[in-house]
Each structure stands twice: as structure tokens, then as C-alpha cells.
Amino acid sequence: MSSETETGAAAGSTADSPSSSINLESVRTVAKKDFQDSMRSWVFWGLSVFFFTLLVTITGVIAYFGEDIAAQGATTDVLVGLVSEITRLIIPLIALVLGWKAIAGERETGSIKILLSLPHSRKDVLLGKLIGRSAVLAISLTVGFVLAAVVVAALLGQFDVADYAGLLAMSILYGIAYTSIAVALSSLTRSTTIAGAAMFGVFVLFYVVWNTLSNVVWLLASREILFFDTVTYTTEIQGQSVEVERHQDWVYFLVNMDPGEAFRRTLTLITDADLIELQVELNAEMFGGELPFFLQDWFSFLILLFWIVVPIAIALYRFDRVDL
């Protein structure tokens, strides 16, 4: 319709950079600004201090009373197991609180117009926000982990640093996943009230709904409602073959889709800790010898990546198309 004028315009400008493109320099600038800004949020630091305190106290108590465990050389296991559980519950909270206003808040106060009056694309802004806030979260986690480690080291002498570093790395990844969810949801509305409600919704979804999913499906299956059903397999208990029922494959897949569950399973990959409590124990026997690929632990790592990539990808697509 207007191709003539557009060609003319493109020829006039030196570099033809469509408005919706991503410019890394722009992303970096936005991320830096957002990092400066978020680092000074007292709400964020309040939550972080809460997290540090919880972590240090509990690890301290365990370390103090856990000399027997230490004697058995299982300190790291206990430490990783405990820290990972606390982290699993608290990180989403910190990430959601850190991210809920990322875009909605700027739209509500209008300051998004400051960002977008400058030569940044909307995609640059979203990615910059995600990176800036992820960096803030990563710093908070690192500080918390190091503090906890210092306390444990002081009380117990030593522990496996590699396992612990792996836990930190995975925790950061897990935090980024929730930051991605938060920033993405925040970009879908211009009301911080709605954004806040959405964050609460996410919290309920993954803390409550998802955790009862396995039981609910079991219930539905036992009453043979709709397509819910169980699969029967044989296992040996004390030398005897026994028929046992299990969920259908997709149920396990769904349960594993929870970022928290993915975080736990990924941890079993990188640490030797045996104390991580999985929501559903899976073993190869249940599937006649080998676990389907989508239930293997390495796949959980992909699920974690999925939760980083997909929310922000949806937001990138949609945020380009709305009126501010």
C-alpha cells in the first residue's frame, strides 16, 4: 500500500534497522540502568536479607547439630539438600517481587516513555529488563550462598565446594526462569494491580495447584473419569512379582514441568546429594526398563530453559503490538 514511500525512506536512512529489531548495545544500556535502579529497591533487599537469614540460620543449626553427619562425610549432601529446598521455595518469591513491576510499573508511571523516547526498541527494553533484574537476583543469591557457606565452613571445617557452586548456578538459572515469567506477565498489562494479581496467580499455580496435580490425577484415574487412567507394570518385591499401577506418561511429564520440580531434578544431575526430595519418584522399572527421554533428569534442564525462553518470547512477540 505504501511501499513506495517506505523504500524512499529506507534509502534515506543510513542503516535500515526495523523498529522491532534487537540491538545488543541498547539491551546492555537498558539492563545497566535497570540494574542500577533495582539494586536500590529496599523491598528487594528486604527479601534478600530474609533469604540470607533463613539460609544462614538453618544451615548453621544443621551444621552445629549435624556433627554425626559430618563424621559420615555427608555434610555437603545435607547442606545442598537443605539449601536447595529453601532456595526452591524462596527464589520464586524474590523473582516475582523483583519483576512484577518491571514493565507494568513503568507503563503506569509513564516512565516507559522515557525509555522508548530513546532509540531502544520494545524488545530491547524487555530483554534489558530481564537481564538487569536477573543480574540483581544473581547477586543476591550469590551473597546469600556465600554467607551460608561461610557459616557452615566455620562450624564444620569443610564441604564440597563444587557441589555447592553447582547448586548456586542452578539456583540462578531457576531464578532467571521466574524472572522471565514475572517480566513477561508484567508486560501484558499496564496496571500494577493486575500484574500483582498475576504474580500471585503464578505463585498459587506452582506452589499449590501443581503440587497437588499428581494426587488429583490419581483420584480422577481411580474413578475412571474422562481419559484419566493408570498404567499397570510389574515389579519385584522380595523376590515376588507384583502388579503395580502408575500414572500415564503424560502425567509425569506435566508434574515435571513445574519449574521447582525441574530445579530439583536438575540438581540431582550436578550434585551427588541424595537428600533432594522429588515430588514423584521415578524409576526405570516403571517404564519397562528405561525412562522415556522426557522424564530423564537431563530433560529437566531443558524444562528450566523452557521457562526462561518461552515466557519472554511470548512477551517479545506481544509487547511489540500493543499501545503503551
Partner: protein
Amino acid sequence: MPAIRVDGLTKSYGQTLALSDLSFEVHEGEVFGFLGPNGAGKSTTINAILDFIRPTAGRVEVLGMDAQSHSRDIRARTGVLPEGVETYDRLTGREHLQFAIDSKGVGDDPEALLERVGLLDAADKKAGGYSKGMSQRLMLAMALVGQPELLILDEPSTGLDPNGAREMRRIVSQENERGATVFFSSHIMEQVEAVCDRVGILRDGEMVAVDSVEGLRDSVGGGESLRVTVDRIDDDAVQAVRSLSDVSSAAVDGKEPPTLVVQVDGSKTAVLSELEERGLEVRDFSTTEASLDDVFQSYTTDREVKAR
């Protein structure tokens, strides 16, 4: 090439029509005053120019480029002072400036810019502690980063005291002398009057007048009022003046000394010679221009107006 070309721009929000088939151009190198009462659609227009919102119909070109597909290129060469915007509470004035400088990839000195808007003293204070006027100055400084070809200032005087508003107009003039085109929105006529080459008046999403300040004055009936003191007055003379083609009204305004007030659109000498032909002696006369505020009022209120 016009700096801004708005062509048939229409924007509706559901049932509400914010802009209806709006078309106008801002010439390169001019200061264009975009005038209209609150809610007339000024911000909507500016939002479309900056690609903050997408038009329902029509198109906008800025610096020869499509406002939507080349928004980033446009904003690289444009300085913007957005309206009704809060600054980042937790960042200092200097950090705001540095952000704008980094964003545009230029090497400006934050302090020089802060000094220009009179904010150097508060450079390292957090913007959360700024007054409304200070925030406005800060955003003006951010708009000036990188010597933009085009300045888009949306209600720049908001929150400024008269002194600050004058300072702001001075900066607008300086920028214009440097070669920048300035697009300047306001709901107060006197603010655009002093600095604008041309003025567009928006009302209910439609442009009701675009003209130079002079032209606007002339376009409204009673563009000038002529006050004539004569030695005596008679009704015939008043009638004769009234019947002149350029005169819209004539009235006696006091007997001591006899004074006649004439609203005249064109030649004032015609009025004076008519009086002298009638044997009246003109002792003194003065003209007062209709204030632009009157012009603005006449365009934006429901008074009867002969448009253009």
C-alpha cells in the same frame, strides 16, 4: 522534506474517537506550536509520532521515515520530552543523563546539560526528591542529548514556574537557532506565542487551524481593534464606518473625549479617511491586537467561528 508529516491520522479506542483524519505538516527548521485544550488529542498525536500507539488509520512520517517501521532511527535523531511522566526515583539526575547519553551513543557531558537547564546543583540527588519542575528540567536536559534534529516537547511547561517557563522557551529558541525543528505542544497560548513560527490548533481530535501567529490573529474576526479619538461624534459617521467592508463592528466608547472603537480586519486607513471625509477630526488613534488567547478561545470553545 517536512520534519513531521501526519496524513489522515485516525485513532479510536473502542467507541471513542481520539483523532479523526488528522493531517498536518511541520516544516524543517521551524518551531511548531501544537495547541489545544486538554483532551483534544495532542498526546495521542505525539504518541503516534513516537510509535507509542498504533494508528487506526492513516500514517505518520518523521524526518522522511515511516514512524512505525523506522521508529528507532527516528528516535535516534529526535529528542523527546514526554508528558505526564515520572522519572526514576532511585536514580540521580546525573544517572538519568548518562542513561540518555549511553542510549544515544553520544559523548555529551552530563554536567553541561544539567547546567543548561539549571539543575547542576542537584546532579547527584536522586530524582525521587526532585520537585515537579525539577523533573521537568531533567527531562528537558535528556531531550537535548545528542543535539537532535527534531525536538518533540509535550507540554514542556508543566510544573514550571513563570521563570522556568521562560528559561525553557529560551532553550527552545537556542535549539531552533542551532537548526533543530521544534514540535511543541501546549494548552496555553501565551507559551507558544513567543517562540513559535507556526501554530496548529487541535480541537476534539481535529485540526481547526494551522497558521503563523500573525495569520491566526487575522483569521479571527476582529483581528485588530482600532481606537480612535475624534473631536466630535455623530451617528452617521459611525454608520458609515460600520458599512466599510473590512469592519466587523464599530461602537462609541465614551464621550469625553469622544472615542470610537472599531474592529477591523484589513486596512485601518480606510476607517480614518472615512471619518475625515465626514468632517470629523482624528485627534489620536491606537490599535490593539486581539490577544492570541482570544484567538485560541474562539477556536476551542463553542463560540461561533468562521474557520480559516
